[in-house]
């Protein structure tokens, strides 16, 4: 902490039925976790438009986590299967455009996996912390004179 005072901002897009509930379980179970993540709850991972991820980076996120139900567990049967294809393509495109894949993470966390949630979110926060602030994107925000919140 002393040598590196940078604390990353993580935006986590999570589905209502699994990961949000899993994160809630982590809280009610009093599991210790880092607090850099802002959770945004959506009905389903199928509802997570990649434009949200882009908007998160625009608004100053240093890293993004997208998480939902395990395959086969989707409340709406197939939302996460559709999302999986979309993510794979979005991740590939981000990489080609020069956005480090270490800033963009995906996971399946079920409602009962409070412990897994803690591991995932701590892992993401630590990885992004190592990367440092996402200055690339913040710089283009600055050039555009849109204030970074």
């Amino acid at each position: 902490m002393a040598e590196n005072s940078f604390e990353p901002k993580i935006t986590a897009f999570v589905c209502n039925w699994c990961t949000y509930t899993g994160a809630d379980l982590a809280g009610t179970s009093r599991l210790k976790q880092q607090t850099n993540a802002r959770l945004i709850r959506l009905p389903c991972t199928g509802r997570i438009d990649p434009v949200f991820i882009m908007k998160a980076f625009q608004n100053g996120a240093d890293g993004v986590l997208v998480s939902g139900c395990h395959p086969g567990d989707c409340h709406y049967n197939a939302g996460n299967f559709h999302a999986r294809r979309r993510w794979a393509m979005f991740k590939e495109m981000m990489d080609f455009l020069g956005i480090d894949n270490k800033r963009l993470h995906f996971s399946w966390v079920s409602a009962s996996e409070g412990k897994k949630w803690v591991d995932v979110i701590d892992g993401v926060i630590n990885t992004v912390r190592e990367q440092g602030p996402f200055t690339q994107y913040k710089d283009i925000n600055k050039e555009t004179e849109i204030p970074v919140k």
Binding site: P50, V51, M54, K55, Q58, P71, A78, F81, H82, R84, R85, R86, W87, A88, M89, F90, K91, E92, M93, D95, F96, L97, G98, I99, D100, N101, H105, F106, S107, W108, V120, G123, Q136, I140, N141, E143, T144, E145, I146
Partner: protein
């Protein structure tokens, strides 16, 4: 070319089609999109090395004619866009009369004569010079000597760059964007009535030509075409500031092939890439 005129005249006379969307000669060798409604108009229809425009773009806003079909002159490459539009329920196969020529490549620069150094980059990897889906076809395939495909080399070059080099590369390209949306208008598959960039509440993408807005627009445009782009490279052709938009599109098309074995615009019956899924889709990247 006489064949095309004969086909067109017969279709118009018999009333099979209400009109034919095709190409007509302009000055020099250049051709422009042209809609033939009468037999006299049909005389003006041509198909040459200069027939570059992807005419399937006109299907986007078209109303079904009161009688007859819409006649459409499309090259094999552009035909994929028609297939994709049918796949995505934007057009009906029975409403379109497809006149697809055997194509001997088109020019890159429409103002200069066709020769080995003036061939559109999409032709260099073309597999559909003889079309597979048509109601009428004409022409003969000739052997064409093709230069090497530089675009694929550039994709490999960008892939080999470091993350920050890639970012700089695209930043330099996207900085030039003036937000004219010609890429969107020329694209046969950008057919949303209201584009996400025009939505003001909430404003997802900054609509002015700022660095950030340009990045957001080009990123989302390319993503919305991922696995859908058929590679007609009209976006590249119309871009007034020469951003290599099709580089990004082609990269994603290559990914769709390698990852999902899906080639956009090849089959009317096949579901679209993002409209379906497989239980066995790769998820190595998901924790």
């Amino acid at each position: 070319m006489a064949e095309l005129k004969e086909i067109a005249k017969e279709l118009l006379t018999s009333g099979t089609v209400a009109y034919i969307i095709g190409y007509a000669s302009e000055k020099n060798d250049k051709t422009v999109p042209f809609i033939a409604r009468t037999v006299e108009d049909a005389e003006k229809l041509v198909f040459t090395h200069h027939s570059v425009n992807n005419l399937s773009v006109y299907l986007k806003r078209i109303k079904k004619p009161e009688s007859g079909k819409v006649g459409l002159v499309v090259k094999g490459c552009d035909l994929k866009a028609v297939v994709a539009l049918i796949q995505e329920s934007q057009s009906k196969r029975e409403d379109i009369y497809i006149i697809s020529p055997k194509c001997n490549t088109v020019v890159s620069d429409n103002t200069k004569p066709w020769n080995k150094d003036n061939i559109a980059s999409k032709c260099l990897s073309c597999e559909v010079r003889t079309p597979s889906l048509f109601d009428a076809t004409f022409g003969e395939i000739e052997t064409v000597e093709l230069p090497s495909d530089e675009q694929i080399e550039l994709i490999k070059k960008v892939e080999a760059m470091s993350t920050s080099e890639k970012w700089e590369f695209w930043k330099n390209e996207f900085e030039k964007c003036v937000k004219c949306y010609a890429c969107r208008q020329a694209c046969p598959l950008c057919y949303c009535d209201q584009c996400i960039v025009d939505k003001a509440s909430p404003r997802w993408i900054d609509s002015s030509a700022t660095v950030q807005g340009n990045f957001a627009w080009n990123m989302i445009r390319a993503f919305h075409l991922s696995g859908r782009c058929i590679g007609c490279e009209e976006c590249n052709r119309v871009c007034p500031v020469d951003i290599p938009l099709s580089l990004l599109n082609r990269k994603m098309s290559m990914f769709a092939v390698s990852e999902y074995d899906y080639k956009a615009g090849t089959s009317i019956e096949e579901p679209t890439l993002v409209g379906t899924y497989k239980l066995t889709d790769n998820e190595d990247f998901i924790k």
